[in-house]
């Protein structure tokens, strides 16, 4: 269907999406997880009443799985990182509200819920660590008795001579910037259907996950089952945004149950569970200091990133602080830098990956601090940024710490493009005039860089990621000339399946509809080293497809040349056929060449029959997407409500293979950014109990909350990727908090105080105290 960004999306409109909760099997059993209602306590579990309920097949608690289920692997294992040793069910002690304590399997979901309510957990409360400050206090209760404190890991990096730079600099600004705990809140919660596979004496797991191969590996590790007996299938994924990127205990448990019971077992997370059990994101404090010259050059940066990890170093989330350390210098030339990270445990749900993964947090700090610096020095905030942006001729440009390589981009051109499109000068003037009339109107901006196309395998190894960073694609042309692409990438609404289809079709000069893409099946699809995350689908998955298609093209051309009696070098593939260059009369269709490959009656000497190709792609570097967000806001002085009047967003993700899908990613990210800036927060009481337990208490943006959004873009192809594409999935969410906070600060002046340094910025915090 020409003109449609993603024709295959039509099934969702018809109600024909197939998510895990839509799947069922004959004899399927239902699992319900019993979770801790206390933040920190010793426990004993009595499941006898639950086991006695008619229709209950099995109840397991932490003691039952000690021997059978090992603690999950750590995916981002930074040096010196401490381990929790926690398994899929708590044993003897709970450390957060929502921690799985028992799992009930029954013949119906209603029976399972009823029995789950009969599992008795006796709690002997322990002192609770509810915040970073409490975790770091000298006399803090410890979450893990064999740790000396509540610190999971810490590290520091230096470049240049930061102390000297600060000593000599005439201007210093500093601040503490807090990004609150938020939920990715995919509308589809997590869900798993695990089925015993008698043919392989194995297990097939249907799960709503971003990383099927990573899940398979975790199940194999935890259960001691060989990987070839485990098949992970990913049906339609109803949103993920990072929260489904790492394996969860429930997925391991369900695989175990299916093997144990030799039956299909399904678990669907309720929304209430999701609020305490699906890994939230952010929850980070960034302390930042800037040293500047009197004309606004950044001379030095010092930052301390403190991540509240929640109750255990689950999966990859310690890495969010490390990613923040990499990204904290942003798009700027800063010669002298010191960055430190520390990750602490508290009695809250373990945090995980969420759109941006450490970058929005440091962007909020840096871009807020730059605004304060501009005010202090007395120059326009956009001008201050301009003076410090890395110029194109300096790229690829390593940061002072060596952690970040700015690969390519036209930063200043982007800034100008966006300022012009926003009519920035005029708006600043109008806002000033409106303020003079008593209205709280302000303009704010934030520049951003986004690390995408994660990431070179060697880099993954250097920074402790327990996987590679490559992707593999295989492509098979059928005898009739159509093509099937097999990928490890997972569609979850971003449309990666459509992008891969386009890349393959373009390489083979075929119509898009002659290419299908198979994904989400570890038995069929090639290995992906990191799944769909880190904005890597198009750049890495897509480059692998492009290389495989190019190999297929070479073979097609060789067969075509043979059929035409021409030399392979004299033919080319164009518009669905192989032809002798500049001689349209000597041409064979792709279908005829494909048929010849499978008949194998007459192939070039030494050529294998059949027509398929495989390629892997491992990038040389990350690709750094970048851009700028501008916001105009008005704050209602009576209510504190913030009306975002306009947003303009400039972005450059390299070559855009499907511009409509790029735009969709950017806008979706912007609106999640608005949510995290003004509305969303997972709050806890002093006892560490979550007070946000249902959607009614978690105000996602709805349509009426969305301001007009205008986009502008550049396309600067990354020199390091065959298709020139950088990732874009996280862009929108990164600079929006700082842009809006800066606009609120501009609107309210000094009376804004610290309120604009803590996300979310709620109306009550903007009222005079």
């Amino acid at each position: 269907m020409p003109g449609h960004a993603r024709p295959s999306a039509r099934r969702f409109l018809e109600g024909r999406g197939r998510y895990v909760a839509d799947l069922s099997m004959p004899g399927m059993l239902h699992a319900v997880v019993v979770r801790s209602t206390e933040a920190h306590a010793d426990i004993s579990v009595d499941a006898s009443a639950a086991r006695a309920v008619a229709g209950v097949r099995l109840v397991l608690d932490g003691g039952d799985i000690l021997a059978a289920i090992q603690p999950p692997p750590i995916i981002w294992d930074v040096p010196g990182q401490r381990r929790s040793g926690l398994r899929a069910l708590a044993h003897g002690r709970v450390r957060y509200v929502g921690e799985p304590v028992a799992i009930v399997v029954a013949e119906s979901e209603a029976i399972a819920r009823h029995a789950a309510a009969l599992v008795r957990i006796a709690y002997a409360p322990r002192p609770v660590v509810a915040s970073i400050d409490q975790a770091l206090a000298a006399d803090a209760p410890r979450l893990y008795d064999d740790w000396p404190d509540n610190v999971v890991a810490s590290a520091e990096w230096s470049g240049g001579e930061p102390d000297a730079a600060f000593a000599d600099a005439p201007v210093h600004v500093s601040g503490r910037y807090v990004s609150g705990r938020v939920s990715a809140h995919s509308l589809e919660t997590r869900g798993v259907l695990a089925a015993y596979d008698p043919a392989q004496d194995g297990v097939t797991i249907h799960s709503s996950t971003q990383g099927p191969h990573q899940l398979r590996e975790a199940i194999a590790w935890c259960l001691g089952v060989a990987e070839h007996r485990i098949r992970v299938i990913v049906p339609d994924v109803g949103g993920a945004f990072g929260s489904k990127s790492c394996p969860y205990g429930e997925e391991i448990l369900l695989a175990y149950l299916a093997l144990w019971l030799r039956a299909p077992v399904r678990w669907i997370e309720s929304r209430a569970e999701a609020f305490v059990a699906c890994a939230p994101g952010r929850d980070e404090i960034v302390d930042i200091e800037l040293a500047l010259s009197e004309d606004g050059l950044i001379l030095g940066l010092k930052a301390l990133i403190t991540l509240d990890k929640g109750a255990e170093p689950y999966a990859a989330s310690v890495g969010a602080a490390w990613a923040g350390a990499m990204m904290v210098t942003g798009a700027y030339r800063i010669a002298d830098v010191h960055v430190a990270t520390r990750v602490v445990v508290t009695n809250k749900t373990p945090t995980g990956a969420y759109r941006g993964y450490g970058t929005p947090e440091v962007n909020f700090a840096l871009e807020r601090a730059l605004d304060d610096a501009a005010r202090r020095i007395g120059i326009d905030p956009a001008e201050l940024r301009r003076r410090n942006l890395v110029p194109p001729e300096a790229m690829p440009a390593p940061s002072a710490t060596g952690l970040l390589l700015l690969d390519s981009g036209r930063y200043e051109e982007m800034l100008d493009l966006a300022l012009d499109a926003f009519d920035y000068r005029a708006r600043v003037g109008r806002a000033r005039a409106e303020r003079a009339e008593g209205r709280a109107v302000g303009i704010g901006l934030a520049f951003y860089v986004e690390p995408t196309n994660l990431g070179p395998s060697a880099l993954c190894g250097m920074i402790g990621i327990a996987s590679g960073g490559f992707d593999i694609a295989t492509i098979r042309m059928e005898p009739s000339g159509q093509v099937v692409v097999f990928t490890g990438q997972t569609p979850m609404g971003q449309g990666v399946e459509r992008v891969l289809q386009q890349i393959c079709a373009a390489e083979l000069t075929m119509p898009d509809e002659d290419v299908t893409v198979v994904h989400g099946d570890t038995q069929a699809c090639p290995y992906t080293a990191y799944g769909s995350g880190g904005s890597r689908g198009t750049g890495i998955g897509g480059s692998a497809v492009m290389l495989a298609a190019s190999r297929l093209r070479e073979k097609l051309c060789a067969i075509g040349a043979h059929l035409l009696g021409a030399a392979p070098d004299d033919v080319e593939l164009s518009q669905g056929g192989v032809q002798v260059r500049d001689d349209a009369a000597r041409r064979v269709s792709i279908a005829r060449a494909a048929r010849a490959a499978y008949l194998a009656h007459d192939l070039p000497a030494g050529m294998d029959p059949g027509l398929d190709a495989r390629a892997s792609f491992d990038p040389a570097t990350l690709a750094i997407t970048y851009g700028v967000a501008l916001a105009e806001v008005e704050v209602d002085r009576e209510t504190g409500l913030v009306n975002v009047r306009d947003i303009l967003f400039g972005h450059d993700c390299g070559r855009q293979i499907n511009p409509a899908l790029v735009e969709a990613q950017v806008i979706g990210g912007i609106v999640q950014g608005i949510g995290a800036t003004l509305y969303e927060g997972l709050d806890h009481d002093a006892a560490g109990r979550p007070v946000t337990r249902c959607m009614r208490d978690y105000p996602l943006p709805f349509a009426a909350d969305v301001p007009p959004i205008a986009l502008v873009h550049l396309e600067t192809p990354s020199p390091f990727f065959p298709n020139g594409a950088k990732g874009v999935g996280e862009s929108g969410a990164i600079p929006i908090p700082a842009a809006i906070a800066n606009a609120i600060r501009d609107a309210l002046g000094d009376t804004a105080g610290d309120a604009v340094n803590r996300l979310p910025i709620r109306p009550e915090s903007l009222l005079p105290s």
Binding site: R11, G15, L187, G668
Partner: protein, 155 residues
């Protein structure tokens, strides 16, 4: 109880406990899995169906309330006359990503079109109705654009 209703245009008799949520009845008993449950408390609108032509939350509707009611789910809308124009507008504006909330928007929009909204509904009412369904992927702008397109309004 025995519930006599019209389901997607067919007279149907369903045996169900009166307190069964309509969302569960549709999904689990009748196999109509196009109706999605995201919050189960009436906030998100993913489970929106048409009851006698009006948009309603299936998760807040009990089976016992459906006796004598014409129920239309996204599957029914998809088989109906207005669907092609709805689908075309949503695809043209790229107004969906993961698709989980999409049936809620399709049913909500179908109800608006049947209200002859083109003439009757004010802009504020149209915005309020679109704002009855949560989407986490699209940022809404393409959905709003698709709906305004369907209603023949410029943005």
């Amino acid at each position: 109880m025995l519930i006599n209703c019209t389901l997607n245009g067919r007279d149907t008799a369903i045996e169900a406990a009166a307190t069964t949520r309509l969302s569960a009845l549709l999904r689990e008993t009748l196999g109509l899995t196009g109706t999605h449950v995201a919050c189960d408390e009436g906030v998100c609108g993913s489970c929106t169906v048409l009851l006698d032509g009006s948009a309603a939350r299936a998760c807040l509707t009990l089976a016992g309330q459906c006796d004598g009611v014409a129920i239309e789910t996204v599957e029914g809308v998809a088989a109906g006359e207005t669907f092609e124009t709805i689908a075309d507008a949503f695809l043209r504006h790229n107004a969906l990503q993961c698709g989980f909330c999409t049936p809620g928007f399709v049913t909500t929009v179908a109800a608006m079109l049947r209200d002859d909204a083109r003439e009757r509904l004010g802009d504020a009412e149209v915005e309020a109705r679109i704002s009855s369904v949560a989407c986490r992927c699209t940022g809404y702008l393409p959905i709003v654009a698709a709906v305004r397109d369907l209603l023949g309004r410029d943005r």
